[in-house]
């Protein structure tokens, strides 16, 4: 599904990613954890194609294709989805209109028929249930006046409609109370299929109680310094990141 090899990326000439290696296969859930400023969000944004970040070195293969060569919209149309840490407001554009345009551009790319208004409505009604969304929000402007929790739920709802192959959830748990966290996690779990994969970027182990990862990676100073199973997350919760920092420094020095 996804193969990241020796990925280096900078923002404003500052190196954030310093050689990330990661392989994700279909059907897997990977968690990427790490302290503030370790490069977690940068990795998510680079995968989505944000231009603020400059890739200096390395390669990313996505379903056999060179992901870094693709435009932002082509990555999306090929099934890469980023659930934003800070979803953006688009005043005057209804969620329904926005999502229909998005879905149809994805379907067009796949060579599928575009959905008409009735078909689209039937689909979103069904998917809205996954994240326990009121239908009225479809007629509200995209993310405008949404609470933090509503914005995050809206991200997962969009994911449910667009059915990506690879979903990257960037700190989807931040700012959520426990009920909202459960709803969001339930949504992600229900969307899990053998032919898609999820990368969960998070600070805390909390979310991983609900979305159980197959692999946990610790990102520090722009590198993955440790990988393991879900128990690694529990260890981090107990011991924090500091002990690993020492190990990482030792490793880097050797």
């Amino acid at each position: 599904m996804l193969e990241i090899k020796n990925l280096h990326a900078t923002v404003d000439n500052k190196e954030i990613l310093r050689g990330v290696n990661l392989t994700v296969r279909a059907g897997e859930i990977h968690a990427i954890m790490g302290p503030n400023g370790s490069g977690k969000s940068t990795l998510a944004q680079v995968l989505a194609g944000r231009q603020t970040y400059e890739v200096q070195e390395g390669e990313v293969l996505y379903r056999g294709k060179d992901l870094l060569e693709m435009s932002v919209e082509d990555r999306a149309r090929e099934g890469v989805f980023l659930a934003f840490q800070y979803p953006v407001e688009i005043p005057g554009v209804t969620t329904s209109y926005f999502l229909k345009a998005a879905l149809n551009s994805v379907r067009k790319h796949r060579g599928e028929e575009e959905l008409d208004a009735m078909e689209f409505l039937a689909l979103v009604k069904e998917r809205a249930k996954l994240v326990e969304m009121e239908q009225s929000f479809l007629q509200r402007s995209v993310n405008e006046g949404f609470s933090g929790g509503e914005k995050k739920r809206n991200e997962i709802f969009q994911m449910a409609v667009l059915e990506p192959k690879l979903a990257v959830l960037d700190e989807t748990d931040s700012g959520l109370d426990i009920d909202a966290l459960r709803i969001v996690a339930d949504g992600v779990n229900k969307l899990r299929r053998p032919d898609n994969a999820v990368i969960v970027v998070t600070h805390y182990q909390r979310l991983l109680n609900y979305i159980v990862p197959d692999f946990v990676h610790v990102l520090m100073n722009g590198r993955i310094v440790r990988s393991g199973g879900k128990e690694l997350a529990l260890e981090l919760e107990k011991r924090g990141y500091d002990w690993m920092k020492v190990e990482a420094t030792v490793e880097a020095g050797s």
């Binding site: 999306a76 005057g92 554009v93």
Partner: protein, 481 residues
């Protein structure tokens, strides 16, 4: 043809009687402007004496006026003596099929979703479709006649309903109102006239589209709409299809009168030629539009979508004379490439308990320059009046400009005026969010811009709103990349 020539010859003969000295061989007046030219225009149009006098008065006043320079637009000086002020409507050279039409134009038609038949009509292809629209227009006219609604060209109105024209012409925009209005009053050639009798609700949107002879109304257009007591009319001006015109200067005047309990809704989509990327060749559009809420409880709404012209200078205004009257102004003005727009409104509150709403959305892209200029004046007697203004500007790129010049004058203490203004840039994060969902950058920008304009678009009649959205997309082409 023979009789037509005869008529012209007869007219030409008449003109000498009025002291017209230039030798007239064709249907086109010589360049320049003087009283003889005005007499020539008036005679060509077989106008009554009073109208000629009215024109001459306007012209004499115009001579004493100076071209305004307070606006925030720049253009080379206009030589008013180098303009041809009258040219009989020419027969368009008819094309045999769409294959002969400029492919660039066809591409734009397609983007706007204009049907093939309509494309042919617009491009001047001689086909049966033209007859279709004639028959539509005929049915339409029959229905209006039954209701006593008059909807015709200005020239026809002068001929068939002189008493109405005489009563209302210049009653809202006096002949000497401003430099461009005075010029229009002196030399206007045609336009639209619309009269809604007492208590009649016009059952359809009146559109210049249905007025077959609306083509070639020329550069000095004059429109007059009178809504009698308790009547209602919605009027559509312009169309989204690109309009090419060889006349660079346009100075139109539109007057609206709403009597007691009457309502006029006036919607405009202006898509004149904006000039090329460097701003060469575009239309200078200097328009005076004003409505008078003469009666109690009357209401006038202006809605405009301005995407064309290289210079747009217009301030559709409302005089709120009748007590409890309402004035509204909803505007989207887009400037791309080298376009300049200085537009806004004046709400003059005279009657008691009058209300006005202003919603202005300015979009600047490329090297475009967009100014909102508005006056809210609440006079002493306009007790308990209210105004709400909202002026939002959206910038695409860093070479364009947005300016706001709001003027507020309040002369009593019982009224309330609110003004809100915002300026924002289309965010890179907004575009990224949209493209991450699979939209192209162009579609993303269109969507964001259309969302920005939503409050104005919802004031437009449904099908007009859909067209206006597409038009914004076409007008923004090449502004991102």
């Amino acid at each position: 043809m023979a009789t037509e020539n005869q008529t012209i010859e007869e007219l030409a003969g008449k003109e000498y009687k009025y002291g017209f000295i230039t030798d007239i061989e064709s249907d086109t007046a010589p360049r320049g402007l003087n009283e003889d030219i005005i007499r020539f225009i008036s005679a060509k149009k077989e106008e009554p004496e009073w109208l000629l006098e009215w024109r001459l008065k306007a012209f004499r006043h115009w001579l004493t006026m100076e071209e305004p320079d307070w606006h925030n637009v720049h253009y080379p000086a206009i030589d008013y003596q180098n303009i041809i002020y009258y040219s009989a409507p020419k027969k368009k050279t008819e094309l045999k099929s769409l294959d002969e039409v400029d492919p660039e134009l066809l591409r734009t038609y397609e983007k706007l979703g204009i049907s093939l038949a309509e494309q042919e009509r617009l491009a001047g292809v001689a086909v049966d479709a033209v007859f279709d629209s004639v028959s539509v227009a005929t049915t339409f006219k029959g229905k209006l006649n039954e209701l006593g609604i008059i909807f015709c060209s200005f020239s026809e109105a002068v001929r068939d309903h002189p008493e109405l024209v005489k009563k209302w012409l210049g009653s809202v925009v006096p002949a000497g109102d401003n430099f461009f209005a005075a010029l229009n009053s002196a030399v206007f050639t045609d336009g639209s006239f619309c009269y809604i009798p007492k208590g009649v609700r016009c059952p359809m949107e009146l559109s210049t589209y249905f007025r077959i002879n609306a083509a070639d109304t020329g550069q000095f257009e004059r429109t007059l709409i009178v809504a009698e007591e308790g009547s209602y009319v919605s009027y559509l001006e312009g169309c989204t299809a690109p309009i090419r015109d060889t006349n660079q200067l346009h100075a139109a005047v539109v007057e609206l009168v709403a009597l007691d309990d009457a309502q006029i809704k006036y919607s405009t989509v202006q898509n004149w030629y904006p000039g090329d990327k460097d701003g060469k060749g575009g239309i200078y559009n200097f328009v005076t539009k004003r409505g008078k809420c003469a009666g109690v409880n009357s209401r006038i709404s202006w809605t405009q979508v301005e995407t064309g012209s290289s210079i747009t200078w217009k301030y559709p205004s409302v005089l709120l004379q009748g007590d409890n009257s309402v004035g509204e102004f909803y505007s989207v003005a887009l400037t791309n490439n080298r376009q300049q727009a200085d537009t806004g409104t004046k709400m003059i509150h005279i009657g008691r308990n009058t209300r006005s709403t202003i919603v202005s959305k300015g979009i600047s892209a490329g090297f475009g320059n967009n100014s909102y200029r508005g006056l809210v004046s609440i006079q002493k007697g306009a007790e308990r009046s209210r105004n709400f203004s909202q002026c939002d500007s959206l910038l695409l790129g860093d070479k364009c400009g947005a300016h706001t010049f709001p003027y507020i004058k309040v002369k009593n203490t019982s009224s309330k005026v609110e003004h809100e203004a915002t300026t924002s840039k289309i965010g890179e994060d907004q575009i990224f969010y949209c493209t991450q969902r699979g939209l192209s950058t162009e579609d993303a920008v269109n969507m964001i811009v259309n969302g920005f304009c939503k409050e104005v678009f919802r004031e437009l009649p449904m099908e007009f709103a859909v067209e206006a959205q597409k038009l914004l997309g076409v007008s923004l082409e090449g502004s991102v990349g």
